[in-house]
Amino acid sequence: MSGLLENTSTRAIGADIGRVDGPAKVTGTATYAFEHQLNAPAYLHPIQATVVRGRVREFDTRDAEAVPGVLTVLTHDNAARLADIGDAELAVLQSDEVAHRGQVIGAVLAETPEAARQAVRLVRVHYEERSHDVRFSAARTDLYTPGEAEDDEQGDLAGAMASAPVTVDHTYTTPMEHNNPMEPHSTIAVWEDAGLTLYESTQGVHSVRSTMAELFGLDPERVRVIAPHVGGGFGSKGPLHPPVVLAALAARLLPGRPVKLALTRQQMFDLVGYRSPTIQRVRLAAEPDGRLTGIGIDVTAQTARFKEFLEQAGKPTEVMYAAPNRRITHRLAALDVAPPTWMRAPGECPGMFGPEVAMDELAVACGVDPVELRVRNEPGTEPASGRPFSSRNLVACLREGARRFGWQDRDPEPRRRMEDGWLVGTGVAASTYPTGQMPGSVAAVRFEDGHYHVRIGAADIGTGAWTVLTQIAADALGVPVTAVRLRIGDSSLPSASLAGGSTGTVSWGSTIVAAAQAFRERHGTAPADGAEARAGLPDNPNRERYAMHAFGAQFAEVRVHADTGEVRVPRLLGVFAAGRIVNPRTARSQFIGGMTMGLSMALHEDSVVDPRFGCVVNHDLAEYHIAANADVVDLQAHWIDEADPYVNPLGAKGIGEIGIVGTAAAIVNAAYHATGVRVRELPMTLEHFLA
């Protein structure tokens, strides 16, 4: 699609270049949201509901207001009225209603965070409490079909199940999980005559700007959002959540003074979303040789009663395997809980757990090698839509992974290998993630002082956007990377879509390519000082014609201690087909980081809700376990050369999420091979092996 990129002699794309933001990050000088040095800040601490459902009858704030340094107690009584934008989660302090435990019902603004926190403890809240229900179950009688996911049926799955010689019909579950980026969600809000400035930990400065402008009835030009560095997000910093609204409400009461709000780790479990738990009934109907005649997944997920969010775990079943009979359904349980949100690979990540374990069960039932089983069910076109794939190299990933992992000598019988008291097994699962593109980005290129200044309001949440966009700009302009000066992370720059759905690099990068082309067309190769051009992201008509996805294969070795049931994962190997890799160093980090989070999902992550109190009880990093270095031993990510002329001018596919997809299934499948015990729920803890 792009001769410009093909003919470049500089070839920054594909080069193993160190992180542009690396020196700032290792010297402690990269500025995160809470760290912008502003004069005389005030500190905000939220008051959170201690009932699950009801309404606030009265706040008694006398003791809180008497704490030295307290400036204001903010409640629905004195908070500014916000516009109704159809998002109940963001209607912060707009009524006395309590919809979930931990909901923000007020805040204390004080001279120090300690005073604010102490005062919050002294606020006495009288509630009118109502009965609540937070029990998640597929047996609930009030499950409903969400509007965005009507049942998807092709052929007759029930008929296929009834007549097939081999069937698998099991229920798999994934738990509630919390994103937990290392940087807690943080905001500094400054309300001045000119407007509102937000220093925000976000995946998209422009989406924060437009949403906040709408909520507060401001011209978007009067809202500025600044986020040069963001300490991870994994989805929770994509859509807006209540804290940023709360900070702006407080700042409005204190014009001219910066108001700082950093959530505690505990508050991160109440206020910024989570991955919904899922219950997945998976059905496979097959011939004796493993060829599928039917495939189905019935997903139950939870949502908040006051705001709907659907974890679309059925999605990958539209894409993965050929079968004439197919049925995909989603049901939601509306509970008195906080709203779920995006967490790394929403839909695909939980939605590839059940089906990929079921495929392993089918391989066992048919006596077919699990790699071969997947190859046999490779579709010619995207099964649900019938569209051709722009590129699909799942088979190449499976073959290359099998070769690298040493799969060929595998004895398919489970529980055959014991080493020093450890049962040893190996497993495989496939990965997939859509190659999306978000509309709306604009980039500007300006030549000045011998450098090309490239400006776009993109966000780097640790993905490497600072680095890879510099590389893309260099090749698009045909200059060395040292000639490019990139600016991102500020809503005063040209508009950018958010970092989500693995669309950042491809959407912003394609926009930069368009802007570079516009620049060269207008100003040639010897531009005058001050020459400038800008362009928006062009439409890609191929998006209508082709199904676009990245694929991968993950192989795991698992050891389960025969006496204690302890589970270890000494080896994890992934091979991915994700188009052109812009920077191998940052790309490897993304793949390996995703796989590690998948390992963490397999073995540890589990937000435990106490139905009596309606909240997550293991709400800190002492009790909510994430993978530590001891969990990660030999972890490898590889990729195959994949040329895709249709996806975008870069030939690249997003890679931030695919690494987490399929990992947990590969590990569970390896544990079955090690022990003969089939685990169908996550996390896979030692008690599963001690029955």
Binding site: P23, E183, R265, T596, V632
Partner: protein, 173 residues
């Protein structure tokens, strides 16, 4: 109360410190040194690791008053020249960038201080380059959500090898 101590070689004083304030808070909010991060406030994640009189501590768990009269060294004090503008990175900082051990960067400062300590205790004391088990043990208290740890361990090894080569060869490796 007033608290005076040394940070990265400079005498500093903070006034009106509430006795319950953490050293981390004083560094970040009063002294303009936000390099040390606040990610859990309970000593689980290691993002706030600093040296206190040469021993690494989670500064979120140290009361500011405990630093009175003592020497603190933070990530901002690791660069060799001490001059951040010149960006003369220490071997540990350099290795983290080079090995691809940095992603979002929020756990990085704590890991750098802890790694610096490991190298000081091994190579710096005339010992050998720490093996993988020693590296993993020493970094056991530092959580990272992005990288998958593998490149962090590579970076520590690289920094230790370079420091040893520098020591043995008398010049940069």
């Amino acid at each position: 109360m007033r608290v005076s101590f040394e940070v990265n070689g400079h005498e500093v004083t903070a006034d009106n410190v509430w006795p319950g304030e953490s050293l981390l808070y004083v560094l970040r909010e009063r002294l303009g040194l936000p390099g040390s991060k606040n990610a859990c406030e309970q000593g689980e994640c290691g993002s706030c690791t600093v040296y206190l009189d040469g021993v690494t501590v989670c500064s979120c768990l140290v009361a500011a008053g405990q630093a009175q009269g003592r020497a603190v060294r933070t990530v901002e004090g690791l660069a060799e020249s001490g001059d951040l503008a010149e960006r003369r990175l220490s071997p540990v900082q350099e290795a983290f960038v080079e090995a691809g051990a940095v992603q979002c960067g929020f756990c990085t400062p704590g890991l750098l201080v802890q790694t610096d300590d490991l190298i000081e205790r091994t190579v710096g004391q005339g010992g050998g380059v720490p093996d993988e088990a020693e590296i993993r043990e020493h970094l056991a208290g530092n959580l990272c959500r992005c990288t998958g740890y593998e490149k962090i361990i590579d970076a520590v090894r690289l920094a230790a090898e370079r420091t040893a080569a520098q020591r043995d060869g008398g010049g940069p490796a």
